[in-house]
Structures are given as C-alpha cells and as structure tokens.
C-alpha cells in the first residue's frame, strides 16, 4: 500500500494524472464536488456582507474587512499559483449566478461584443476598480467594500438571469482577468487526452449530460491549450464518457513557455498588473505623504483626485513603456514587429506579477493576520486589546518578499528564454533575450526597493 502511494505521488510530480488516484477521482465525480466547498463559501460571503454593512464602521475593527482584505485577497494569488482557477469554482458570485440561472435564467447566448472585447473590458474594470479604491477608499471603508461586493453581486445576478452559463465569470469579472493570467503560471492543469478526444463524437464536456451541466466557462477540453479559463469545477470529468480528462501537476510558469496564440490584451494586462502592484506599494509607503506634498507643489493643486490619478497613470504607463522599449530593441534584432514582440514577451511579466502580488499581500497576511482572529473574537465580546496582529516580524516578511521577487525574476527570465528559443535560432535568441532580461531585472529591483521601505497596514 505504502509503495503504491509513493509511486502515485511520484507520478503526480512527474506530471501524472491526479485523477488516477481513485479517492480524488471519486471526490471530483461525486455530486458533493464542488458544492461541499461552494456552499460554506457562500455562507461566509453572506456573513462578510452583513459585517461590512452593519458591523463596526472602522475597517480596523470590522470582521468583514479582515476576512476580505487580510485573508481572501492575499490568499487569492497563492491559490492561483497552486490550484489554478479553483477559486472560481467555489466563488460565491459563481454560486449566485448558478442559482439565479437555475430558477429564472433565460440562457441567452453571450453577446458578440463581450466575446470580442471581454478581456479589454476586464482590463478596464480592473484598472477602474483599483483607481476607485484609492479615490474613494474602498478597502478602508467597510461600507465601500460592501458596495463593491454588492455591485458585483448585481452584475452576476443580471448575467445569470439573462445569459447562458457563467458569462460574467468568463467575460467580465475583473478578478477573472487576473486569475486567467496567474493560472497560466499555475501548477495545476486540466486537459483532455488528445488521442481519446480525437475519437469522441459526443462533446459531452461542452454540452453537458444528466450528470452535470456543460462547461460553465465555455471551454472545450479537447481544444484547450491554456488553463486561463478552466475553473476546475469537475463538470467535464463527470460528463466525459471516455474518461479522457486529466488533471496534472506541472512546474510553475510552464504553460507560459509555449504560448501558441498570444493575445495583446493579455500582455497588456500583465504589464498593467505590474503597474497596479507599484501603485499599491507606493501608496502604502510611509513616504507617500511626502510624495503627495511634492506632487501638490508641482501640479499646484491639493486635489487628491488629480494627484493620485497622475501617480496612477505614471505607474500604469511605466511598465507598459518599459515593455514597449524592450520590444522595440528586440525588434531590431529579430524580424518581429514591436507589437508582435510586445504581445509575445509580455506574457513573461506574469511570473514577476504573481511574485510581486504575493509578496505585497504577504505583508498584509503576515503583519496583520491575527486581526482576522481578533475581529472575529470581538463579535463574541472577547478582548483582544493591545495584542499585535502580526503573525511574523517585519524583517522576516521582507526576507520572504525578496525571496519571492528573486523567484519571480528567475521565472520571468526563463519564460523569456523559452519564448525566444521557440521562435528564433542562434544569436537572435540572445539578442532578443537581452532587452527583456534588463526589463525583468529593472522591474524586480524596483519592487525590491519598494519592499525595503516601511509600509502602512490595511487594518
């Protein structure tokens, strides 16, 4: 028994099918999956909404704020790294979508506009939400956070009521865009077995059967070349009559080594996420006040709208411009155009994005983690006065942040190398590699510098 387990574990690490384990297979195929995780998540979501609206008005004391911004938000990129878009399978918004759809759904086809411009809409929403968070203080205000969650709930209900499957999750969710990018660097992959799928005539994974509905995010495992959209809900595993579906473990970032059809909007989002991490870092630095004062002197206005928007624009444009510069230099050494290089090599930033995002939120998770416990205990009248919310000392957190950034840098560097090696030969590989290596090093160093500076807490 032990030797069988050991062999199985080793096969998982070698890229073997996790579903070969009968316990995992039974669990994924059972009607309890993913509901057994989905429903408790929905209950917690309701508690969070209640707390955000009717709990303490100070974010510092609010259990909903702590659960959302100190636990869930920092955990999200970590989940994407290890489990791909599994969160999307148990996300309360998806559950609400499915519930509404089940009883009153019209199941209209997805409008062509959303199909065509979905990722751009996601990019715009992600930028808008980040901007509004800083302008209106969504994270610092429990009601602000509540309003954001209710806006998303309303959008999800509208989507579930009128459109088929999880249209919102696939084409509009701002987190879905982030999830799509990060899960491509993730370690879990679901896909069909090509030789089995080649003989399939049912396409049950897409259309659904009496066992489960068709893929909620409009994926067809037979044709899937990316994990960007798969939410690992297991419906295709239940539906497939040929047991073709495999779930495998792969090295982080592996999918990004071979992107068959790179999309400019994905590369754009990758650069924008880096800008957003810059903004999040800069505005939480203790020197942010001094930067604002300097900006006020330069712009001649004390309007936070104006001064923050300028900072925001600079932070967004900086990584985009640097990626553009590297692509321009590379285009002089390879035959590709600036746009082609931008699109192809923009994917390499995803590893750095993921590292920087996790590193930034690691501070909140580890320096403020106990606030989840304290605000939770306070609901029952328990005293937590004077206790530190930190789970780990700041120097130790910083060490982890630096380590993560180095890993992210190496990951990005390797992706650049693999993409260059796939597309070019001989000296062109290194001539293409160099400007991107400088770009990744620059972004990594900038992040490390920001992490060395003292940072304010969320709670």
């Amino acid at each position: 028994m032990i030797s069988k387990l050991s062999k199985l574990t080793l096969s998982w690490l070698e890229g073997g099918d996790i579903l070969a384990n009968k316990w995992v297979d039974h669990f994924i195929r059972s009607r309890w999956y993913p509901g057994i995780i989905q429903w408790p998540t929905l209950i917690i979501f309701v508690v969070i909404i209640y707390q955000l609206f009717f709990g303490p008005t100070s974010a510092h004391d609010n259990f909903g704020t702590a659960l959302t911004w100190v636990l869930w938000w920092p955990m999200i990129p970590i989940i994407f790294l290890f489990l791909g878009r599994f969160w999307c399978a148990i996300c309360p918004f998806a559950t609400v979508n499915d519930l509404v759809q089940k009883f009153v759904g019209h199941n209209r086809p997805v409008p062509r506009f959303f199909k065509k411009y979905g990722i751009w809409i996601i990019d715009a929403m992600f930028i808008l939400i980040t901007w509004s968070d800083h302008i209106w203080g969504i994270v610092e205000s429990p009601i602000g956070s509540g309003v954001l969650l209710m806006l998303l709930t309303t959008a999800v209900i509208a989507s579930g009521a009128f459109f088929e499957r999880r249209m919102f999750c696939r084409h509009l969710c701002f987190l879905g865009g982030l999830a799509g990018n990060y899960s491509q660097a993730g370690m879990l992959s679901l896909h069909g077995t090509p030789e089995v799928c080649a003989n399939c005539t049912t396409a049950s994974c897409y259309t659904g059967t009496e066992k489960a509905p068709g893929c909620p995010v409009f994926e067809f495992p037979r044709m899937m070349t990316t994990s960007a959209n798969c939410v690992l809900c297991g419906d295709c595993v239940k539906n497939c009559p040929n047991d073709s579906i495999q779930v495998t473990i792969r090295p982080p970032t592996k999918e990004l080594w071979f992107v068959h059809k790179p999309k400019v909007e994905v590369a754009f989002l990758a650069a924008v996420i880096m800008g957003i991490v810059f903004v999040q870092n800069v505005t939480m630095l203790e020197v942010w006040g001094s930067i604002l004062t300097w900006l006020e002197a330069v712009t001649g206005t004390t309007s936070y709208y104006v001064n923050f928007t300028i900072t925001f624009m600079v932070a967004m444009i900086l990584p985009l411009a640097l990626l553009g510069w590297a692509s321009l230099v590379a285009s002089k050494n390879n035959d590709a155009s600036l746009a082609e290089n931008f699109t192809r090599f923009g994917y390499a930033i995803i590893a750095l994005d993921l590292a920087a995002h996790i590193a930034h939120n690691l501070f909140h998770l580890l320096a403020e983690g106990k606030s989840i416990l304290y605000t939770g205990m306070a609901l029952f009248g328990a005293d937590s006065h004077g206790a530190s919310p930190a789970l780990m000392s700041t120097p130790n957190i910083q060490l982890m942040q630096y380590g993560l950034m180095v890993l992210g840098f190496l990951g990005s560097l390797y992706i650049v190398y693999r993409i260059a090696k796939t597309n070019y030969q001989g000296d062109v590989i290194w001539a293409t590699f160099k400007p991107y290596a400088i770009l990744m090093a620059g972004l990594c160093i900038l992040n490390i510098i920001l992490f060395t500076l003292p940072m304010d807490m969320r709670m």
Binding site: T57, F103, V104, H106, I143, T154, G381
Partner: protein, 209 residues
C-alpha cells in the same frame, strides 16, 4: 416541469414581497421623531433629547438640565463620553472622569483619549468624546454631536459641573447600524429583486424555439 414552474412563481413572489417590504423599511429609516430620557442626579433633572434613534457615525443630541424647581440651568460645563456597554467595567467611572478632567484642563486631549483607549477591554467599538455647548437663546439646553463606531448597546455619560459641583448622568442607549448602510443594502436587494422578478416574468415567453 410543473415543479420548476411553481418554483419560478415562488421566486417571483418572494422577490416581489421583498420589494414591497423594502420600500416602507427604507421610508421608516428616514422618519424622525424626538425622544427624551430623563435621570435625576444631585437634585438636577438631566434629559437626553434626540431627534432620531442613534445610529453608527455622528449623531446630534441635546441635553436639558433643570434644577429642583424645574428651572433651566445655564452655564454648566458639560462633557459627554460614549462607551460600549460591553466595555464598561464596574469601577471605571473614576478613571473616565480623570481622562475627562485631562481633556477639560486642555493639558493633552489626545493623551486623555489614548489613555482611555489603552484601558479598553474591547476594541470592537472605541469610546468617543464630545462637549455639549449652551444652545444660544435656550438656557439649560446643551447641544453636541456624538459618534458611535459600532451598533449595539452603549452608555452615554454626561459629566457636568455646576457651581463647583461635579456630577455624572448615565444614559444607556441602543445604537443601530447606520440607516445609510441599511438604505444602500436595501437598494441593492431591491435592484436584484427587480432583476430576478423581471427575468422570472419574461422567461415565460421563450426567446427562441
């Protein structure tokens, strides 16, 4: 099929009921009526008058102080503290008074507050302070604004000095969640109920065969 249809009707009914219930609820949240609570301290009648129930956030109030002859007492120094009931140890009165004395002396208002917070057994809702000023033209009436950081039972303590006599009057109050929070959530629920209701009704006419 029939079961699905009846479930759809049930949902429509629930969504519509929710709409109907939300409207008067929102209207009630904005209605106002003046309420007064009176306590007797050291021969003075102290009344706490509020125009609407206390909510989280800032709340206007006024205190009315009358003497034994029911004559208004003007010129009193009035300080107000609000403390969550769960954070009120039995013997904290003296300590709170010392803090308020610090504030009154103007030595270091913030240190007084910090001192108070430091001894707070419950961080869920921090105590707040304010002073009540004489309302011009209405002797014996003192007005101010007091902030509550959380919903639940609180104790409002009026600390006042009249002719060298220092007195405390306590008013247990119930603080509700801010009506704006309620109204915002109510409107979202209303909107979502409308969406579900509209989808449920229009679904009876299939979009395509």
């Amino acid at each position: 099929m029939a079961q699905t249809k009846s479930i759809r009707w049930l949902i429509s009914g629930l969504a519509l009921s929710l709409l109907i219930l939300m409207l008067p609820g929102t209207a009630l949240a904005s209605s106002e009526s003046e309420e007064s609570t009176m306590v007797t301290v050291g021969g003075y009648y102290v009344s706490l008058v509020v125009s609407k129930p206390f909510k989280t956030g800032g709340n206007p109030f006024h205190l009315q102080i009358l003497d034994e002859m029911a004559e208004p007492v003007g010129g009193a120094q009035v300080k107000i503290s609000a403390t969550p009931s769960s954070a009120m140890p039995a013997n904290d009165t003296q300590h709170q008074m010392e803090n308020m004395e610090n504030m009154e002396n103007g030595a270091d208002e913030m240190s007084g507050m910090r001192g108070m917070q430091h001894d707070m057994p419950n961080m869920d809702a921090a105590p707040t302070y304010t002073s009540a000023n004489d309302m011009s033209g209405q002797p014996g009436d003192y007005a101010g604004i007091i902030a509550f950081s959380a919903a639940g039972p609180w104790v409002l303590k009026a600390h006042f000095s009249i002719d060298g006599q220092v007195l405390d009057a306590e008013f247990p109050v119930d603080v509700e969640a801010s009506s704006s929070a309620f109204a915002i959530l109510a409107w979202f629920i209303f909107l979502n109920a409308v969406l579900i209701w509209a989808a449920s009704i229009s679904r009876q006419k299939p979009v395509s065969a």
